[in-house]
Symmetry: C5
Subunit: 361 residues, 5 copies
């Protein structure tokens, strides 16, 4: 069961090139796999003392946002390109930015504009059936507001929402940049879960390699190696992006929040190191597997050799006394047959001792 | 069929050295393989409102270009060196630049001159028979004009031409530097198609390795590895070149266009990462192939050993009772023959159970 | 016995992600494995002339510290989160710092604040049973005081305490920054012991590979490889941290102490180089192991081939004269049997000489 | 024949250390292998309009050089150390420079002095018998003059001399720095020939590996790998040297010439990339070779197993009916013999079908 | 004989950690293996015109040094820690420096102090029995004086002493910084000898691998690989140190001497490149060894298969006519026996031809 998860992460086949080709740069064109997901908008606003939730219509979104509160505006479902476009236009976002919002192939990135900071990230998490899900998301930090675009309603941000609603921790008393950080931090925290899953699988495979290696084991090791390479593709760039945020002098990001971002940076560094570690571990596993294959072949060969080495000479001896020469003196000895059995047993035991000494038994 | 494509990309044999040796630097000398292609010139000029196409003669090209419109001048066919030279002279290009225009071995490069920006790129695309084609091309950005030199009339730029003609997107309302970017972007977009092709082949090979590996499979994996190395040679430098364009302070490249170039840079980074990924995947495939070869040998060895281990001792036993000793008591037992069959079967079944336990069956 | 130590270093399974998820950043949450350890505080204060030891209660700690003496305050046991929190609050430490104090998954780090310097390190040492122990620890350097948080009372700092008590070396005459350095130096010195252990094991394994390689040997080589990877994870970052301390311009770290830190830096560089060296040595060992497996298989194959090659033809010959044809002239020769023995022996010796020449015997 | 070329490049054995040891730095000491080559000097001088060739005696060289013309002074044969010393002294070169001129072990280098630029390079070319030759050379650029020191009269510079004599290209109209560039460019151009040779061999080996791999093939692959490593040693540093020339602010190198040097830099980058590519190709070849060895062994094993699996059971059966039991009922059946043949054939065909299905035939 | 040298370089076992643990930083504690070597001091002083040798007592050393001459003070034997301490104190050296003087585990380092420059290096050389020796040494450059601390009187500096005594080269006319350089250069020159030794062994091993590979060969290749790793540890850092000296602005190092140091830097770079080259060569050798093992196994398998494939079917045939069926018609044919021999020979020859065609013979 845990096995099947591996195959889940598959890049959609030959899709990127065909869907983009010939399109002008900046065309807003959703290329992901959740095409039926209708776009839903929720707007959560809070100050230290108050909390308000709205579900505004897309074109009313901009004006629904209050200036006095910190706003967390969540746009779920990216398939209705015209709605995304409409929201983007109302906020005066440039077209290339909107293209990245719906381009599920876009690598993680951070871009700073005069009055907003834009980021694209990949959310990795395990769904209810414990399968790995990769979800494209984009965040825009504007004065007092964080706008999130994501493909499905999933639980990566539940912890953050909880903290806002429960007034837990310092999130209610801080501004939009802290919210931006908290969301990013939640995404990175979920990477740990995926890594733990990978580590888990590696440890299962390690046991399998040591105890019952089969060709299936080798395939699974290769699959997890490939999985690590792909996870790495999505997670690796995040470190540099967070670092850039920390070094940025954008007015929307306060010095205080940067202190927290340093913590996130620390996590990103650790995640990248772990990925490298897991990759080397999978290489070691493959090596160990090959070793066990060789050792098994060795064992098989030894059994064959011991049996052949003992019985082939004996068969030869028996063959000799099966010959029909007129005059074979031994055949007429009274105890010839029993003497020969003695010889058979002596040769057999002698060879067994020899092989024992060679360490083949 | 898809197989044969791989062999297509071959560096022309020992050609570079011989064709250049002893020539002065700056000699204009076409060394590509499309020597019969006559040089054809087309000149597409547009403003936001109007569109004009001309086919001027080479020496009239310079004067045919209007100052009020953005001009896209396309020179197809590089074998007629004197024509290239003539065009170059009329634009006052330096000789080294012209050498690079016709030197199909030239690596991708960007060079900035006082009043023009010069770039060499490789176009990779699949032709009508779906075979991979590598085409050398050079672009010059002059005030209001983009001059393109390419070897054959092919469709890499069709999307761009379309957008100009259909007045689709923002291309008509922007200047020559945007056109320069759009062409570069079209080249890079085609790299994705080639990469998709590579990914496709890798996935086919993966299936082959897992299901029916043969020596042919190994050869194909090595071939695709080599193909990846070569594609990398042509694509890899582009990233740095685009980056240099973005950081350049050349007056011909507007800040606006640089924003778009950042997008292209993003694509280049992704393409390079994918190439690295595909390379590691091909290494993994080779490893998996070797594993399956070892496993097969193991299986063969086991069959041999099981058969030999069972029948060699039995044959020995049969040989014993084929001996001609005068006095072999067992031979005279009434049921000796049938008892012996019992022993044969007991030994056989015993060994089978033993091998079953060892996991060899 | 020495063997079992390897398995000791195990990252707690899937723990990090689950224990942190959904918690606000800065939550003080001990995640280590020494949960029953009560928090104990000792306060050692000294000047060049005097020495004083106290065991203050947590909330009295801050006020117990004398301003005229250098104070070494040792907090052992991190499981009582409220006590840690209390101490932290009394010193005005920020929450993220306190989170790192109890987060046993935290990588080594150095952070500079306005009036204190904070560091997290991993202590690696062998306990009384000679098993490897990894212990999380945090140090804070404040004006005149070093505050140490560690999980258990162990002997890494014994040497330093000794030098303070015995007035040995220059430690009594120097300030808190020298104490900070001395503790860090003691941690790094213990890394050498762990490395020596690793080197020791590698040398034992080397002997094993050369003399009596078994499948166990391969597993042990892989285990030590994994161990090196993990030790590296904890030790590797220290070098950069020490370097940052040396380049820091924090007022709490005197130029004199930096001279000593350079020495520690030297040690860190050497330790990292040694780890790299040991890793390459373990790779070489694995290679050597594979070679010896191949060589053994070769030897087995040769024995099989020699025996089969000698006796199979002889058995065939014997089989011929066991045939029941009515007319086989050789059977009636007087000395046929003895001549045939001559032939058997001649063939056997001839083949033995041949194989000797081939170097198979 | 093409094969033997590989062995040609051999570092002279244990020579460097012994020939230099105990010598003061700056001792002029020719350590190359062309000791009988007498030193010959030729002096070619030219302006745009005139051309003059002289063969001055060593001590007259300095005064023979005209101030109005560009001079190309070629010193061939480095074994007569006193002559080299004399020339050096007359130009006021420092001793370390002269040591490098005759030290054939010296790596490629560029050094700038107040009034001259000094460079050491390795010329690689194929001689008349198509064998690879490595030749040490040094160049000094002085105001209006390029002084070349080389070991033998060979044809690397023929193209340049030709262009000077034929007034071909721009060389006659430019100064000594352009000549310096042209010579360097000629050296680099010859690297392409050597690389083409390497590529050629790699392609031959590729064919060999795919069609008729033998142990010789493996040795040849290893040899070419070693050759690539060694060529790399001589070519690799050149890139950085050319780059340093381009960035140099030495008054002797004009901005114009730097433009040409950029072209050479481009070539150096490409050559280095190609070397890396060829190295990876040779690694791939070795891998492919190992694969084919494994596959062959597999094939051999299958043949053995099929034959043994078919005939060993049959022989056992035949052995049974060769036994001498008094009562074996089958022996008395009228058609027992023919029925048994039927059984033999049935078993044989059955096993053949089985192995066919397994894909072993 | 040349073989045994390899084992010579062994890091003393588990020594570093134990000897240093718990010691205060700066403790002067000789940990090397030449404990019986008494400390001897010689003082060689020279100007261009005069030369003077003294053997002062340790405490008189400082005052024995003349201010007008360049002094080369050689302290041999580091085991008498109090003497080293005394000398150090008289020169006002700091304790950490003195610790490094006697700490034979210390990596190569350069440290600049206000009025002296301190360096630690490893001397590698072959002793009279041609065995490799690693010797720890330290040098201090003071105004007008170079102080050398070394473990034994060995010949690395003989060449330099000679040049001073013979007034050979420029050494007598230059100051202490040139002497410092000359000694460093002598150390680096000896590295070449060790490298030549390594190259020599590699070439012997190469021959062995190609002609008579045995398991011993594999062990030797691994040993030399390990040796290269260890030599690298001692030599590798020197490059950066020399570079730092060149870029240093310490008043004791003149611009002139830096010119010479650049030469030494060149040598260091070359040595490092060679070490890398040798390492890759040893990897290639191991690969080649594995290839030859595989090829041998292939050969053995072919012999076994050919013999088994020919004789097993023949034995079966012979077995058939050894059966005791009442009615076997062939047995009664007059020439049955001879016909069967014909069949035997035909089958044998047919299979031989088949195997010949397959290339197995």
């Amino acid at each position: 069961m845990a096995r099947k998860k591996v195959q889940k992460i598959k890049l959609p086949k030959a899709f990127r090139a065909k869907s983009k080709l010939g399109k002008a740069p900046g065309a807003i064109n959703y290329v992901g796999g959740r095409k039926e997901q209708l776009t839903k908008i929720s707007l959560l606003e809070y100050t230290n003392d108050s909390l308000k939730t709205q579900y505004p219509r897309p074109l009313k979104l901009k004006e629904s946002i209050s200036n006095e509160m910190t706003s967390f505006c969540n746009v779920v479902g990216l398939a209705q390109e015209n709605i995304i476009d409409g929201i983007g236009k109302s906020f005066n976002f440039n077209n290339l930015l909107l293209e990245d919002v719906v381009d599920t192939f876009q690598r993680p990135k951070i871009e700073e504009f005069d009055d907003h900071v834009f980021g694209v990230f990949k959310m990795l998490y395990l769904n209810q059936e414990d399968l790995l899900v990769v979800e494209h998301m984009a965040m825009v930090l504007i004065e007092g507001t964080v706008l999130v675009f994501q493909e499905t309603e999933e639980d990566v941000f539940d912890g953050v929402l909880n903290r806002i609603e429960q007034k837990f921790g310092r999130i209610r008393s801080r501004g939009a940049d802290y919210l931006f950080f908290a969301l990013l931090d939640a995404i990175v925290d979920h990477y740990y879960i995926v890594l733990d899953e990978v580590k888990d699988k590696l440890e299962l495979l390690e046991e399998e390699v040591y105890n019952k290696p089969s060709e299936e084991t080798a395939k699974r090791i290769q699959l997890i190696k490939k999985e690590i390479l792909r996870i790495r593709k999505w997670i690796f760039p995040v470190k540099d992006l967070v670092n850039r945020l920390i070094e940025s002098e954008h007015q929307l990001i306060s010095k205080d929040t940067k202190l927290f971002l340093k913590d996130t940076l620390d996590h990103c560094i650790e995640i990248n190191e772990d990925l490298t570690l897991y990759r080397e571990m999978s290489t070691s596993l493959m090596e160990m597997y090959m070793t066990s294959v060789s050792n098994k072949m060795n064992e098989v060969m030894k059994v064959l050799t011991v049996i052949a080495a003992i019985f082939i000479p004996l068969t030869f001896l028996a063959g000799i006394y099966g010959m029909n020469f007129e005059y074979i003196p031994e055949l007429h000895y009274q105890n010839g047959y029993f003497v020969l059995w003695g010889v058979f047993i002596a040769i057999g035991i002698g060879l067994l001792i020899l092989f024992k000494k060679k360490g083949w038994l």
